[in-house]
Amino acid sequence: MKHRARWIALSAGAVVVVLAIVLATQVGTDPRADANKSHLLGQTAPAYDLPTLDGGRVRSSDLAGKVVIVNFWNSWCIPCQQEHPALTEFFRRHAGDPGFAMVGIVRDDTDSAVRSYVTDEGVPYTVALDPGAQASLDFGTRGQPETYAISPDGVIAGTQFGPSSVTNLEQMYAAARGQR
């Protein structure tokens, strides 16, 4: 009887110790950290074929062999508005490079609101719409802005969740060109 009670006490103690170790090692870690990064980094970028705001289409297959910066954004998102000058400046720096393309994919917005934003603010790169949100889902987006740098061989070489700066756009661009 005494031994049995001892074993039960020991087992209860073991459970408490395991719980304490787990809690101690997890203190300070963000349980949602997993949600703040792309799990597609290093993987082949999803294919897309989307209508553009100017009535054309943009296809990932047509951009193969180029470094492609894909930015998910919309007109009502304040961080998207904040990063707009950085995206524009970055695009102007590389616009003359035939091995470079940049696509802004609109997520969760209306065509008219996007059209009016583009007219007012000026977006010099291709603006694509994502009806049905298939591209947003395929890229594993959780909101906007999110930016992906795709290498010429179609691999996601850099990602940014939240507003980008010119510096981190340049870093992602260099990573996508294989110039880390």
Partner: protein, 151 residues
Amino acid sequence: MTRRLLPWLALAAVVVVTLAIVVWPSGGKPSAAERARSIGSELRCPDCESQSIAQSSTETARAARADIRQRIAAGQSDADIRQAYIDKFGDSILLKPESSGLGILVWGLPAAALVLGGGGLVLALRRWRREPHLHATDADRELVQQARPVR
């Protein structure tokens, strides 16, 4: 002996019947729509807080529901579909913790606590039962009489 065992047998029967009702699969094979709803209810809506893909009305959640239906139609298993979403979004896409790795603690600790608590209760009950029932002897009664104040 049989009378002593009867409460335990009754308790065991209640446990078995309850488990059978709760765990036993209801109905036959689930339809594609039921499977899609079930998978969607286990996955977190990617662009909203604490809502499942099945509940949310965001564009991405609607796209995910369509994607799950397509995957089912293409013959993918529930586990394959769940894994595809984990590969794309990470473990945080799951509304329920996984039953492997660290996630097993979430499921295992309450069960372990239940087993240990139940074991402790059984031991305590058995110990209380074994304690001798004392009856007052004549000597005890005499002692009490002596201790009582004389009126």
